[in-house]
């Protein structure tokens, strides 16, 4: 057995110990051959060895053990002196076992032919000993139970208690039924006194028949019958429990046929929980209804109802009840169009069972089982009325005490008009189900079914939905103002459906961010072990949903950030203790959603980032001059770690710095349409905050006209749109223009310069009195973009565009409109970055504008 290989050493170790103990006990036994405690102990040890050997697959051992066990089982149950000859045989077997184990051990677990021959010989000898006992295997059992039943304590108890006959059935796929049977008897013991059981408890473990035969037991108990029953049903794999109360008088220790149950059988089936779950029924009904229609029976305003009846208590004759009920329903209330079991079947069964009933008086036990065969009825009823009518009828008509009625949402008049494809029906159904009042479904009753969908399929579905949105807009545009009221309402409906489908597709794409987070406990554990730092992980908001497409991207980003945090940020335990911090560091991963965005922070409580180190590094690498460094704010310095080719690590460790720098992290986030911020306090830790759109396919955007083109700016980045008086509010600093708004100076960017090369008009500002600007936020700074005109706000579908067309990354994609026009979606972060690169390098070192630049820079 391969699975056992890892346990091999353990096995040999344990078997050795066990065999040693066995040796000891056997020699004790030879001095006191009749001592029960020794016999019991030997039985236990042999049994344990047998179990271990069987687990690991050593039949040579388990076979011998089994026979040793059988011998001692006899003496255990029939206390008497064990003959010297038997002890000798056992000792011989033990020696043999030692040899087999040794042989196995030296052969690395292979059962050699030597050990097989030895095992055979030992088995034979032990069998000889067994034959001498000349006792049928279970002959001792009735004797034993009888003895038990006649003990005075039980008799005494009997007078106060009730006596029950209990039948327990186990699931067909039940593993280790013997243990389940044991658990059953244990529960019975706890709830009363177990008088006898069939099969007897001694043979549970070797009896695989238990699954088919079930377990019968007789107990006395003062507890209510229902309690015993419900307690038994709580044992795993117990699927049915039948409890019959028996008369106290008379011979009580066997299941004789003369006895008549004094109360009705109560059968509780576990499947009752599932009765409200219909998976196929709506389709079935639909088919039935169409059949129904074909027979041209007037349907009028009838409603279709699906009804499930369950009998739980005191069922005398389920079939008869059901048969009569269905007939009555058909006659007085409506039309049964489907039932399971069918009326025909029930009719036949009823005949059978009335025969059985006559037999019952003769052989009550078997017949009772036969009658209480079906306790569930499922039918579909067409009724001119509501479900209340059915309920009223049912509660009057029969003694059924558990009635479940469920109305089907089925507008079959419309169904008759339109031939819908099965796919379309399923879709409609799923939408309906979502909106449906869930009061009918008890929690836990409905199983959720999942379908695995190829990501590409989902992607193509999303694109199709996008097309749908676009075409909806096209129709709207084409119809213009001349649309009739009817057209308008159809369009309105189309819009609703489209939106709904869009939402559904979006929701399919959304997954909890936990999919990313769950990979980290392990990662952090491994890493902290490797770096010999103690790190704990805290996760918050793991149910925040993100687009499935982002999972992999984010995973890489997080791995990098967490790796950095542990490698560069975390101190060793000693360092931490010295600083008066807790021994183990903590990394917190938090996520929450706000509007269209998801915010994720990764915080560590390590040593933080020293801005001086960053400055030094940046100057060394020629990223900035000492003068520039002087005037930078704390945050600006920190932002430097996102600069291309920047690394703060003094040495590249094995784990971090695998070629992926923070600049790559930033561009990843940026390509997802997100932003990244950093905050760090020396000695206290670092926090990296990501803001990403919750979905990357459909966004709210502001459409603008600039030059000859139509552009979209993600609404999430827009702060405001204002008209600016050029004379009063625009200032020139070097080659930069800035505007003054709400006492804040904001760089003024001509979009045309970056996106529309034909329209570079440096001086056009002076010819205008007012300009329209969009104030956008990028990396916590504001910028003003000059635009020609506003088109409006709209939800747009992002279509990715090739890298060739977009080498500088100035656009995030494109979107197509109903009229066929295309708009580019601007990557604001990239544009502002280019602006800063261009102006910082050109303006700041320039002495002519130094003073103004200083002023400028100090505000930013």
């Amino acid at each position: 057995m391969n699975a056992g290989e890892e346990y091999l050493d353990l096995f040999f170790d344990e078997v050795d110990t066990s065999l040693e103990a066995l040796n000891q006990q056997l020699s004790l036994l030879s001095k006191n051959p009749g001592q029960v405690s020794i016999i019991a102990e030997i039985f236990r040890i042999v049994h344990t060895v047998k179990g271990m050997a069987a687990t690991i697959g050593f039949n040579t051992i388990s076979r011998v053990c089994h026979r040793m066990e059988e011998l001692f089982d006899f003496y255990r149950k029939n206390p008497q002196e064990v003959p010297t000859q038997t002890i000798q045989s056992e000792l011989k077997a033990l020696d043999g076992l030692f040899k087999i184990v040794e042989n196995l051990s030296s052969n690395e677990g292979e059962e050699s032919s030597i050990s097989k021959t030895l095992s055979d010989a030992l088995c034979k000898e032990l069998e000889e000993e067994l034959k001498k006992l000349n006792v049928p295997k279970n002959a001792n059992v009735p004797k034993n139970t009888k003895a038990l039943a006649q003990t005075p304590i039980i008799e005494q108890a009997v007078s106060r208690e009730r006596k029950f006959e209990i039948k327990v059935k186990f699931a067909e796929d039940c593993l280790m039924p013997g243990v389940r049977a044991f658990m059953t008897t244990q529960v019975l013991e706890k709830n009363g006194h177990l008088l006898e059981s069939d099969p007897p408890s001694e043979s549970f473990l070797d009896n695989i028949e238990i699954v088919s035969s079930g377990l019968k037991a007789i107990i006395t108990s003062s507890k209510p019958l229902e309690q015993i029953q419900s307690r038994l049903l709580k044992i795993s794999d117990v699927i049915e429990v039948e409890v019959l109360e028996r008369e106290m008088s008379g011979s009580s220790h066997n299941l004789s046929a003369e006895q008549i149950p004094i109360s009705l059988p109560i059968t509780v089936t576990k499947s009752i929980k599932e009765i409200n779950y219909y998976e196929k029924s709506p389709e079935q009904i639909e088919k039935l209804l169409s059949d129904f229609q074909r027979h041209e029976i007037a349907i009028g305003n009838l409603n279709a109802f699906q009804v499930d009846l369950v009998l739980t208590d005191e069922v005398v004759n389920a079939e008869e009840q059901f048969f009569n009920l269905l007939n009555n329903l058909n006659e007085y209330l409506g039309q049964i169009i489907y039932s399971y079991p069918s009326i025909l079947e029930l009719g036949q069964k009823q005949e059978n069972s009335s025969e059985a009933k006559t037999l019952t008086n003769l052989l009550n036990v078997e017949a009772a089982k036969f009658i209480a065969h079906s306790e569930k009825l499922h039918f579909v009823l067409l009724v001119d009325g509501s479900h209340k009518n059915i309920l009223d009828f049912l509660s009057d008509a029969c003694e059924l005490n558990k009635v479940e009625v469920k109305e089907i949402e089925f507008d079959w008049q419309k169904k008759a008009e339109t031939e819908q494809s099965p796919e379309a029906q399923t879709e409609v159904k799923s939408i309906q189900e979502e909106n449906k009042d869930l009061s009918f479904t008890k929690s836990g009753d409905v199983k959720t079914a999942f379908v695995r969908v190829n990501m590409a399929t989902l992607e193509s579905l999303m694109n199709s939905v996008g097309e749908l949105v676009i075409n909806h807009n096209r129709i709207k545009l084409a119809m213009g103002d001349g649309a009739t009221n009817e057209e308008r309402s159809i369009l309105q409906y189309l819009h609703q459906v489209t939106t709904k489908i869009q939402q559904l597709v979006m929701s399919i794409r959304m997954v909890p961010i936990n999919q990313v987070f769950t990979r980290f406990p392990r990662f952090i554990r491994d890493m902290s072990r490797e770096l010999k730092k103690e790190v704990l992980l805290e996760v918050e908001g793991e149910n925040t949903e993100i687009d499935r497409l982002m999972v992999d991207e984010l995973n890489e980003v997080f791995i990098h950030l967490v790796r950095n945090a542990i490698d560069h940020g975390m101190e060793t335990a000693e360092e931490r203790l010295e600083k008066g911090k807790s021994k183990a560091g903590t990394i917190k991963m938090q996520a929450y959603a706000q509007g269209n965005n998801v915010f994720i922070t990764i915080t560590d409580d390590g040593k933080g980032i020293d801005p001086q180190n960053i400055k030094k590094k940046a100057i060394q690498k020629g990223l900035l001059t000492a003068e520039e460094a002087e005037i930078m704010s704390h945050n600006e310095v920190l932002e430097l770690i996102f600069a291309i080719g920047f690394s703060t690590a003094d040495k590249v460790s094995d784990l971090s710095g695998r070629g992926v720098g923070m600049d790559v992290v930033k561009s990843r986030i940026s390509s997802l349409g997100g932003q990244i911020f950093i905050n760090s306090v020396v000695g206290e830790g670092t926090s990296i905050r990501l803001s990403i759109p919750s979905t990357i396919s459909i966004i709210q955007a502001l459409l603008i006209n600039e030059g000859n083109g139509l552009y979209a700016i993600p609404l999430s980045q827009i702060k405001e749109i204002v008209s600016i008086n050029v004379l009063a509010q625009v200032y020139e600093i070097g080659s930069c223009d800035i505007i003054l708004l709400h006492n804040e100076t904001i760089p003024l960017i001509r979009l045309g310069k970056y996106i529309d090369l034909e329209k570079v008009s440096e001086n056009n500002l002076k010819n205008q009195s007012n300009i329209l600007v969009v104030i956008v936020n990028s990396e916590e700074k504001n910028y003003a973009f000059i635009i020609d005109s506003l088109v409006g706000q709209q939800e747009i579908v992002i279509k990715p565009i090739s890298h060739k067309a977009n080498q500088e990354g100035l656009v995030n994609g494109a979107t197509v409109f109903g009229d066929g026009r295309v708009a580019m979606i601007l990557n604001i972060d990239q544009i502002t970055k280019m602006y800063l690169l261009e102006h910082e390098s050109r303006e700041f070192p320039n002495d002519d504008t130094g003073e103004e630049a200083l002023y400028w820079a100090s505000r930013y």
């Binding site: 687990t55 593993l175 280790m176 709580k234 795993s236 769950t518």
Partner: protein, 128 residues
């Protein structure tokens, strides 16, 4: 959500088995609050975490599942411990049940059985 999720302590010496169990449990709304790799750790972690349910492997180094079970039951009579057994360990499982284990699951783990066992364990109130 976390305040309603029943907490589970997983005890198994094999990382692989712990991972499998953790995945099954997490997916089904349980919160795995701790793991232990042998009986001694199990006892320590139990006292520290007081999980709603503990899954206990039987065959473990240092201190096996049965011994750990006994010890935990001594500490907390209401402890709900589900034994993880391999096929063929019937006798040991019976021993575990005698010592107070509330159920057992069999390797290789089938998710539905695992979840069922945990659900049942939660249903059974402490007094019974």
């Amino acid at each position: 959500m976390s305040h309603t999720a029943p907490s589970v302590l997983i005890v198994d010496d094999a990382l692989f088995m712990r991972t499998v169990l953790r995945d099954i449990l997490t997916k089904n709304g349980y919160q795995v609050i701790g793991e232990a790799t042998n009986g001694h750790e199990a006892i320590e972690r139990y006292q520290e975490l007081h999980p709603d349910i503990t899954t206990m492997d039987i065959t473990m180094p240092e201190l096996d599942g049965i011994a750990a079970l006994k010890k935990i039951m001594e500490i907390d009579q209401t402890a709900k411990i589900i034994m993880c057994s391999a096929m063929g360990q019937q006798g040991i499982v019976v021993e575990a049940i005698k010592q107070g284990a509330c159920d057992f699951i069999i390797k290789p783990f089938q998710p539905n059985r695992v979840v069922q066992a945990l659900e049942k364990a939660l249903q059974v109130s402490a007094g019974e």
